[in-house]
């Protein structure tokens, strides 16, 4: 959406203001309480997605690794917040340098004040905080790929470096006035920046770190599905802020994003369960929540650009494609993407990016563009290119970061750690006591 706002200004005058602060008064938009209220609560909603993700993932691993998942989510919340305030925000949203990265104008939140962000009605520091939650959740999504076998230190290092080199770049390209934005890519709330990005990185890490001991034969079932359901509920709840908050205002575009989010998630959850019902005779709880999350990932880039009815198609597509991927293709390929971070977020995100190219419509959002079904095949091509370009960037950079960590600290815990469980071996804690 931010990209869209920018478009409406034709030239990226926004970043000029920091160079020519004398021009500031030109941009002296005032803070709108309604928009600010909405973006504040949206920020809180995206926040709650992070523990939500912890419970979603954590309920699915074995008891002995539950805390390790929660801990990774919580620590990401910690250090990525700091990374974002000190460096990341500036890299993402600082004055554009060659379309590739942001300048250092916002280092340590310099110049990030409580005044209205140009062309919006919300304080600049609120925009920073809102975007910051995205920078936290993206590396947290990757946790699903190497769950139950990563060294905690490696996780921290990887997230910090990857967050800086990969996430911050992509955020800049798409939302911060970078080249993808200039190319006309539509990504309302982070299909490319968040989901494709995390999904692809997840795939690389899952391959590099290798399968869990005992996979696939001797791996137990999800240890606590209700916690996974709780997590999915918090994710869905928070996703309203994620998507509708990306309008940066409480207006019709936000409400449209809200509605499409609800519809895509509902559809995808239903369809996934339906497929299981037909194929296995039994719809499952895990299937429903998996489908819902796939639908949410897929609608993310499209939320503010497509109509509610088209969100149904996006939801159906997400369920079918991710289902096939996760239950048929993945087992064939044989890698152990523990919690399907790639299968859901990566695949769902790619489908969402393409689907935006299919169903986007300027009737829904005049700052957007028309897609394939609205007479503009061009957009599909742009979306496709943007997806390809980002993947081409993510793969090698992620690979190098992970390899470097693997060669130095080592990505994977020792076999005995894995056997005992990461909770005890990495954190000296157990999730549940047996007796008292």
């Amino acid at each position: 959406m931010f990209s869209a706002l920018f478009r409406s200004f034709q030239k990226s005058l926004f970043f000029f203001m920091f160079l020519f602060s004398s021009a500031h008064f030109l941009w002296a938009d005032t803070i709108n309480a309604g928009d600010t209220a909405w973006v504040m609560i949206s920020t809180a909603l995206v926040f709650i997605m992070i523990p939500g993700l912890g419970f979603f993932y954590g309920g699915l691993v074995r008891k002995k690794n539950f805390l390790s998942i929660l801990m990774q989510c919580f620590m990401a919340l910690g250090f990525m917040s700091l990374q974002w305030a000190c460096l990341g925000y500036s890299l993402s949203f600082g004055t554009d340098i060659a379309g590739f990265i942001g300048g250092l104008d916002f280092l340590f939140l310099k110049n990030v004040d409580s005044l209205a962000l140009p062309s919006t009605g919300i304080p600049h520091n609120l925009f920073m905080a809102f975007q910051g939650m995205f920078a936290i959740i993206t590396p947290a999504i990757i946790i699903g790929a190497f769950a139950e076998r990563i060294k905690f230190l490696s996780f921290c290092l990887f997230s910090l470096i990857w967050g800086t080199l990969v996430y911050d770049s992509l955020a800049h390209w798409v939302w911060g006035g970078g080249f993808l934005h200039k190319m006309g890519t539509l990504d309302f709330a982070g299909g490319t920046v968040v989901h494709i990005n995390a999904g692809i990185a997840a795939l690389i890490l899952t391959i590099m770190i290798g399968k869990r001991k005992g996979y696939p034969k001797h791996i137990s079932s999800p240890h606590n599905l209700p916690f996974a359901v709780l997590g999915a509920a918090l994710l869905w709840f928070g996703w309203f802020g994620f998507n509708a908050g990306s309008a940066l205002a409480a207006n019709g575009i936000a409400s449209n994003a809200f509605v499409t989010t609800q519809i895509a998630a509902a559809t995808s959850g239903c369809i996934w369960a339906l497929i299981e019902w037909i194929r296995d005779k039994h719809p499952t709880m895990l299937g429903s929540i998996t489908g819902a999350v796939a639908g949410l990932a897929a609608i993310t880039p499209a939320a503010g650009f497509v109509s509610p009815m088209n969100a149904i198609w996006i939801g159906i597509g997400a369920a079918i494609i991710c289902y096939i991927f996760v239950t048929i293709i993945k087992p064939k390929l044989g890698y152990d993407d523990t919690l399907d971070a790639f299968g859901i977020h990566g695949i769902g995100g790619i489908w969402g990016a393409i689907a935006t190219g299919l169903w986007a419509s300027t009737e829904v959002n005049s700052a957007g563009a028309n897609g394939f079904f609205y007479g503009n095949p061009e957009l599909l091509w742009i979306q496709f290119k943007a997806t390809a370009v980002t993947i081409l960037y993510i793969v090698p950079v992620t690979w190098i970061i992970a390899k470097l960590i693997d060669k130095t600290v080592g990505l994977r815990t020792s076999e005995s750690s894995e056997r005992i469980g990461l909770d005890l071996s990495e954190h000296r804690e157990t999730a549940y006591t047996t007796l008292d």
Binding site: S221, P222, D280, I328
Partner: protein
């Protein structure tokens, strides 16, 4: 003295306890266990992961009794636990050497009963 261990279906517990009570056997110890037997469990599917589910939830009941109560206990267990479906479980009987009531220090048959 005998020590009877029975593995039964979880939903038969209340009936077994009732039957034991009817036969004047009030003291039992119950444990939650998992059993692998002839009964084939429902195979669970979690995304791509299939769990053959051959470890099924069962209940273990332990009763220490004097020899003369043995037939009663066996009867109670059979009546209470039998559904004639696979998975009904087993009864194991052991010789019990000694039995002490911690509270009083009583030993043997004195200690075993209620």
């Amino acid at each position: 003295m005998k020590f009877v261990v029975a593995i039964i279906q979880p939903d038969r517990l209340h009936d077994v306890l009732d039957e034991l009570e009817n036969r004047d056997i009030h003291l039992v110890t119950v444990t939650q266990v998992l059993g692998r037997g002839r009964q084939k469990g429902v195979s669970q599917v979690y995304r791509s992961h299939v769990e053959t589910g051959n470890l099924l939830r069962k209940i273990k009941i332990e009763v220490a009794i004097t020899d003369d109560f043995l037939p009663n206990v066996l009867e109670a267990l059979k009546v209470g636990a039998q559904t004639s479906n696979i998975g009904d479980g087993k009864i194991f009987v052991f010789e019990l050497d000694q039995c002490i009531r911690i509270r009083t220090g009583e030993e043997g048959p004195m200690a075993i009963g209620s």
